[in-house]
Subunit: 278 residues, 2 copies
């Protein structure tokens, strides 16, 4: 196998290295320091203003510092917090209203990726976030792709309060519009994937906190002094470069492909993670 | 949030604990001992007899022992071997014929899961493996779900030889029928997810082997003496219990769901991993 193989194999990834980038807003960027790495979450006040606001307030209160991921199911989600969602104890923190979807507005910069996948009439990106859209119903919502961050809840719509989950496996899109998604991991998914799993027979519940991966500290990026602050660079999904990247994934021209794949795109399979600059 | 929340949250996972199980065939089961865990791969001689056979021969020759995962792209694949696919060096091992798909035969125990997802007219399981089917064309093939194992290749169909990849992210189904899939991880995906990633800017290539996660040893389970041999238990995807499990995922009845998801299933989102017994 010659050098040509290298090029074609790299093309498979659809590297977004040439996409135009933007910086995340430090006021809507949260860093989680885990045992062996930094995870960066971009919040989404456009879809989840109340939940993003509550999450930031809890981060600033130090609520998550020292807490762990106590429900971790390989291929599904890593859920962290104080476990109040999973216990009969009263939760000291207020609950937050459901923000499962929102009204469509023409001002939203929806970049359409695919019509009619299994779960939505249309999928695309809105400012970096994978989303579904139903123009007839006038609704749009964030989609459960890997790396998306949601607020856990009980059986009532408005019952979420503190505990959150990160999707770590094949997109559980059946959860779309049933739970509030309020952020996405833009850096550190490899670190997220190292979060210790719970026993499958226990539904991923880790009973002994000593076995949990711990959040050493959670910080809002805007609160970090300028001289120590990371810059978080993400692809600008509104850019022509980003659209060209995913269209090239839809229509593969590399000679590596011996049969042409269907001209479709899974919105959850379009790379859109970012990088850090110091 | 009361106890009810616990039950409903657990239901979300669609635990297959009650599915009927089967043991894998030790002759078609390979264990990879990595630095911090065991990964078990079930081979598929029904779809990839030549590739499964070559892989087993290499395992028995000790070819993989001490080699690492040198191309690891978070959210995509972890590729291991001697790197011969990515170099200009002559490969000392013979190449193996392409086994991208196979003729449909009515004897194949296809358990249909979903019609017309983005990538296939029909998806389902064949003896534990996620598969696509096109009855009109008379073809069936294994599907690129998380945990599937494929043989890397160059630009020619029959150019694969030694290096293999494990899918670690959202299903890259556009690769279906373009590359030989010959196995699936039935145990240890959490260990697979801890495989060290390569730098995204380098297309995941790890140039210094010291930075790679190493395969300490690869073994065919049948070669392990009886008294030290693991039994690998996987859900029997042909069983009524398994079908009932995934139909319950298609038609959610838990009160946790405040709006009913579409009555569809992503074959790559149906849990079908196994467990070990000593």
């Amino acid at each position: 196998m010659m050098r040509a193989a290298v090029c074609s194999l790299l093309l498979l990834v659809g590297l977004s290295a040439h996409a135009e980038n933007r910086l995340t807003d430090p006021e809507n960027t949260v860093t989680l320091e885990l045992d062996d790495g930094i995870v960066v979450i971009e919040l989404n006040p456009t879809f989840a203003p109340a939940t993003s606001s509550q999450f930031k307030r809890l981060v600033r209160d130090g609520f998550y510092d020292g807490l762990g991921f106590y429900r971790v199911i390989d291929g599904f989600v890593a859920q962290g917090g104080d476990g109040s969602d999973m216990s009969e104890d009263e939760n000291a923190e207020p609950t937050v209203e459901a923000e499962f979807d929102r009204d469509w507005q023409d001002e939203l910069p929806f970049v359409s990726v695919q019509k009619a996948d299994l779960f939505a009439l249309e999928t695309g990106f809105i400012d970096g976030f994978p989303a579904g859209r139903d123009l007839e119903a006038g609704k749009t919502w964030l989609a459960h792709c890997p790396g998306i961050v949601g607020m856990a809840r009980g059986n009532e719509a408005d019952s979420g309060s503190t505990d959150f989950y990160i999707v770590i496996g094949q997109a559980p899109r059946y959860l779309d519009r049933n739970i509030t998604l309020f952020g996405r991991v833009v850096y550190g998914m490899d670190t997220v994937q190292r979060i210790r799993r719970g026993p499958p027979a226990e539904g991923g519940m880790i009973s002994d906190p000593a076995n949990s991966t711990i959040i050493r500290s959670a910080r809002v990026l805007a609160d970090v002094p300028d001289d120590g602050r990371l810059a978080v660079v993400v692809p600008d999904t509104n850019s022509d470069e980003f659209k060209a990247m995913f269209e090239a994934r839809r229509h593969r021209t590399s000679e590596w492909f011996l049969s042409t794949p269907p001209a479709v795109l899974d919105v959850c399979q379009v790379p859109n993670s970012g990088s850090l600059q110091r």
